[in-house]
Symmetry: C2
Subunit: 411 residues, 2 copies
């Protein structure tokens, strides 16, 4: 991707690449394509009316103040502290820092703790945004495997912590991992918090999906076991309420807040006070539980549809994760298939997915796919998986011997 | 500001300081204090009703789509390109990149072009946000002086460009400089664009106030003279419409957009589609000119009130800039006065300002103050300047000889 500006770019600027993933997803805009490639919550469940009413309430009540610059909105910090308490995390409003979604939390914490070249521990297969703030910033990345049933391999984390030089950061996705769909096992959570404290490695717990559980028992986040302030929890309203709010939060020690505030100011000053006030209103009116219940029901039914369709069409051919929440199922195809190569064939059959290789830090996992169920209706999910299975089975079929070429024209 | 986490911080994390400015401004919340310390547009001029109607229109028309993830909103990019054309900048929608305000533009461009240790040229007195993304990131900063009538000293810029190693970035505020209130002279603009092209130094033109001119003839931005794509223009809706929108834009070469997009995604993914759509609607309905006319009238009257009050109370004692737009007047007190030391006396007299030293890259300019006129009504401005003059005159008065201490008790 050479440009006439290459001579002017920084080391980081040079390392930036165009997003092949973003370009692939452009194929998915054809309305005939069933896209299992997205990462959006169920559109029709978004609390359109509720947020609209809360925006109205705030604009009427607060007037011009809702449109000015404004620091972190204290009532929202208080409501978020309540949400955290409900999840088993002891938390004061002063420990809550409002961000523009979890990606901004990742950007802030990676800059607070990581210099280029510093060792960081991340999962071998993980959300691209986590790769951007570690690999992309020039960290020396140590990867740990993640089991499709048990989540991150904590023995591997401990081994990575014991290697010198000591890692400066560990980043994990807690619940309903993107892209794997798995959650960290109950018995691993306390141990992870203890390891972070013992080895003094800041643990960034990225948990955008934690409130999207549709089956199974809720588990406390790793942060619930953190006695030493070494776990930095990132939560988000993007999936819980609406992506367009661009609001999330960080739970961090009060003594780091001045630095976190200054760092965030250098990035984009602050989050919009109008949305902060509207979300505080939404939470204060007790609207969130009803909304989440509807969202969970819808997502759960869609996940069921996907797991059933996978069972029907790809049993014995592929294996996949069985999420209890979130938005994604991870599918492993036979080792000799390449999901990036199959992508064009899938598009031809009018179905899209994300090739799993994009989530692989070291570029492997080419036989995998991430499938989204949250923003596709069950019928389309069944049809989409059927089409996908057709593509896979065709790729697995022994290649037919090409017919004998027609003889030359004898004339 | 030692914390128990110091051992874990990155180089940048260690360099971060708590904001003494932010703490000073906490004093200004007392409702009896007349604060000339702010940086907000006139509150009562914010287009509350217009934005509310546009938000309603979008939520009704676009429904759930207005609450989902969404890329840069094409109609908003097109409207912004029209705004740029109206200011004399030839610009296509594809050259417009929507940001969360100019600070995010600064954060992106400084990371795209600057490595720690690289030389960067900034004004000796400049907006703290520009210092954060250059000095704060460890750049080797070369400062250039800015004249209160003519703006940045272009000879000094050229001299800084000629020094080896070649600077990697120049950042200037175009119109109604924060904190100086001055604009870059007409005759300097074309020369700056030419120097950037000739020396191949990316010039970041930070122009949040350009549309807030209340007197004098509008000048084209430096970008209007840029034939080589070396000028990166940053514009903002924060002052033009409302700070809480957190929306601004960058004009940059199309060939850099993939890198800019990837870098921005690593920071916070994207800007909220609801506000993007609402602002596109606001601009499309032709509401902006009427709004700006009202804003300019109000700001102009307030600036007049401030300049008159300064003339009345501080003639012969201080000198100050005479802005033709924007929000700030810069005041230079006699050289032996320290505006930071006077701050507590001013608070005692119920008036606040920002000591100019905070805007000085090398820590000088302690005899200066930044005064805001945009969000204070004229009567309060007159009273505030009178109080401030009282503080200054008291500090200048020869210190009274302390009375002879009372004799000891003879008993």
């Amino acid at each position: 991707m050479a440009t006439t500006f290459d001579y002017a770019l920084s080391t980081e600027g040079t390392r930036l690449e165009r997003s092949v993933l973003r370009e692939l997803l452009h194929y998915a805009v054809d309305p005939e394509i069933i896209s299992l490639a997205g990462g959006l919550p169920a559109g029709e469940c978004l609390p359109l009316q509720g947020l609209r009413e809360c925006l109205d309430t705030v604009l009427t009540r607060d007037g011009f103040r809702a449109l000015q610059y404004s620091p972190q909105h204290p009532p929202l910090r208080a409501r978020i502290a309540e949400l955290m308490e409900a999840r088993g995390v002891s938390c004061t409003p002063e420990q809550v820092f409002i961000t523009n979604g979890n990606q901004q939390g990742l950007a802030i914490l990676s800059r607070l703790f990581l210099d280029p070249g510093d060792p960081a521990v991340i999962e071998e297969v993980t959300f691209t945004g986590i790769q951007q703030v570690t690999v992309g910033r020039g960290a020396e990345v140590r990867t740990v495997p993640t089991d499709l049933d048990l989540g991150v391999d904590v023995d591997a984390v401990e081994a990575a912590f014991r290697r010198e030089p000591r890692p400066r950061l560990l980043v994990l996705v807690t619940d309903f991992h993107n892209p794997l769909g798995v959650s960290i096992a109950a018995e691993s959570r306390e141990r992870l918090a203890r390891l972070a404290a013992e080895h003094r490695v800041p643990l960034v717990e990225d948990d955008p999906y934690g409130s999207l559980r549709f089956t199974g028992d809720p588990l406390p986040p790793v942060k619930a076991y953190d006695d030493e302030g070494m776990v930095f929890y990132l939560g988000s309203f993007s999936k819980m309420l609406a992506p367009a709010l661009r609001l999330g939060w960080m739970v961090a020690p009060v003594e780091l807040m001045p630095r976190i505030t200054t760092l965030r100011e250098s990035l984009d000053l602050e989050s919009t006070t109008l949305y902060q006030r509207a979300v505080a209103e939404f939470l204060g009116q007790g609207r969130v539980e009803g909304h989440l219940a509807a969202l969970r029901t819808t997502h759960g039914a869609r996940c069921d549809a996907m797991l059933e369709a996978l069972g029907e069409h790809l049993s014995g051919v592929a294996r996949w994760s069985r999420p209890e929440g979130g938005m994604f199922v991870w599918v492993e195809l036979p080792a000799d298939l390449d999901a990036t190569e199959l992508f064009q064939a899938a598009i031809a059959k009018k179905v899209a997915y994300v090739p799993g290789g994009f989530f692989s830090v070291h570029g492997g996992k080419r036989n995998t796919m991430r499938l989204n169920f949250s923003n596709v209706d069950p019928e389309a999910i069944r049809e989409g998986v059927a089409r996908l299975a057709g593509v896979v089975r065709e790729a697995l079929a022994p290649h037919p011997v090409p017919p004998h070429p027609p003889g030359g024209n004898s004339r």
